[in-house]
């Protein structure tokens, strides 16, 4: 299950809770990835739309892949407005072995960026502007295009 929150994430709460989950279990490596909104190009915040049904399926597929390697994935993401210097995204891997954990968090975060159905907007002077230049067409994009 993905945790979706309105506004910024409480990073300490989320990570502490995930740490409690691994406590007493036989995980050897725990790697969280914390994404924080950077102050750049005059933005005051980012804002996010999420399409949950497809996001959950995307995550379930990754959870299956992780389980085949003996690992577990966790993920929390913000919906709506997230001010600069606060966190919009945390994911984590728990694995018996470090090598599997390091590979998985990398692959998971990269695929998340490319294929999780989440849309990002810069908030500048209160206006919400689609971050088109930083966005990536999903796998399978262009299926209905008449260009080909």
């Amino acid at each position: 299950m993905i945790e979706i929150y309105n506004g910024p994430l409480d990073v300490k709460e989320v990570i502490s809770r995930w740490l409690d989950e691994i406590n007493g279990k036989n995980w050897g490596a725990f790697i969280p990835f914390v994404g924080i909104v950077r102050k750049e190009d005059g933005i005051e915040a980012l804002s996010f739309d999420i399409y949950e049904p497809i996001l959950e399926k995307w995550f379930d597929d990754w959870q299956k892949k992780a389980k085949e390697k003996g690992a577990i994935l966790k993920m929390a993401h913000s919906r709506g407005v997230v001010p600069v210097f606060t966190s919009s995204y945390i994911s984590a891997v728990m694995s018996p072995k470090r090598r599997i954990a390091l590979d998985l968090i990398d692959e998971f975060v990269e695929d998340f960026k490319a294929n999780a159905p989440i849309w990002k907007y810069d908030v500048i002077d209160g206006e919400r502007i689609y971050a088109e230049a930083r966005s990536t067409a999903m796998n399978g994009a262009g299926l209905m295009s008449k260009k080909d």
């Binding site: 994404g35 996010f48 739309d49 399409y51 049904p53 497809i54 399926k57 993401h77 919009s88 995204y89 975060v109 998340f112 960026k113 490319a114 294929n115 999780a116 159905p117 989440i118 849309w119 990002k120 907007y121 689609y130 971050a131 088109e132 930083r134 966005s135 990536t136 067409a137 999903m138 796998n139 399978g140 994009a141 262009g142 299926l143 209905m144 295009s145 008449k146 260009k147």
Partner: protein
Amino acid sequence: MVKIEFLGPIGKEPILLDVKNLNDVSKELNKDENISIWLEKSAVALNDMIVNSLDIELKDGDKISILPPVCGG
């Protein structure tokens, strides 16, 4: 009737179409320039599953989603 949803920044209300397959949906959507400019870079889901072919028959109540370029995190 099938329902077409436009996600994220496309910013268009859902529409209902009386069509038999995904090819028909494609033809209809390409008639509207405000939509067709998104199609080139958008993925397509049928009942919340991403699809990779237009040769798919539709049934009454199916939901089609148009997913423009993403950027989570």
